[in-house]
Symmetry: C2
Subunit: 219 residues, 2 copies
Amino acid sequence: MTARTTSETARDIPEATVARLPVYLRALTTLVEAGTQTCSSEDLAAAAGVNSAKLRKDLSYLGSYGTRGVGYDVDYLRYQIAREIGVTQDWPVVIVGIGNLGHALANYSGFRSRGFRVVALLDADPERHDEVVAGVDVRAFDDLEQIVADQGVAIGVIATPALAAQAVADRMVACGITSILNFAPAVLSVPDGVDVRKVDLSIELQILAYHEQRKAQSA
Amino acid sequence: MTARTTSETARDIPEATVARLPVYLRALTTLVEAGTQTCSSEDLAAAAGVNSAKLRKDLSYLGSYGTRGVGYDVDYLRYQIAREIGVTQDWPVVIVGIGNLGHALANYSGFRSRGFRVVALLDADPERHDEVVAGVDVRAFDDLEQIVADQGVAIGVIATPALAAQAVADRMVACGITSILNFAPAVLSVPDGVDVRKVDLSIELQILAYHEQRKAQSA
């Protein structure tokens, strides 16, 4: 591999490594909270559930190699990864669809603790507009454009039923949202330059089923 | 690679491949629903968001190599993967903690369509015991042991607040549950032989933030 400048490195991180950075960040946060100051790549790999060769390779994209015989400085590595992901910034987020899942997401502490600030909860149903969830008023979906412009929102979360999701995505894209986290069981079509990630709550359950089946076969 | 029997192959699938099988299953289900009968490894890799060399390697663990010039039989490959994961079986599941997230999970169609059948919704709060969610009665948490024994439940879902999660996990393990899907923001300690997977709803949001930051830098 040839030498690279920092900005080139930043652009070149493989997608699979990007997907593991939040997992490392979570493991490092747990270590920091436990008072751990340094850790080996083996310890961190075990805490993150990956093998240590993959971990070292992933961290090398960030220019982090640890110190031989000492390992990684936990707090500094956490900062480096948080900065690389971008969660040292403040990300204003809107959630559209304040049913059960929207309520759960609005109350989810994991967003707030990682740089994501829920600035608005929007729902098409006027009956929900009196509600306050996790300290935030539920407002009309038609306020979307104004809120996105006022607050500089780049990330939208869709927690509507499947049938409403594409129309919500279209409105989000039209007013400048460029990243969408989609919890609705629908495939969204968006223009180039807009990122969509879909959360499938059943994936982890399927991984458990795989291991359950193996346990049953070996019993 | 030496020749392996089917059962040896089944035990030897790397964890990272196991984690991708549900993603392939979802992509194949979408192709089946669109009426597609065969697909190339490139098409399937693109639909699943992985590179095609990795896809071919993953599928080789299942003994699936496709047909040169034709590709994979979509419907048969979907069946092979579903069988490998274990979702061709019926998995009775209990959900404990019927707050907003528990409600959302009980209503989540993605569980039912993938072999997971929610047989019981349990909550410690007697005020919830009159409710029916998605056609299932909310019952007392103290009914856990009876339900697990009667229905042969192996998989439990925890959607309680963080403080209650370990006690719920302990009760689940004591009555024979061997796989736990944990949505509570708490680290669970369980004995060997019990699998726990934790869903972190913020991970996908962090991956979006990473790309948003790159877009902002290149703009």
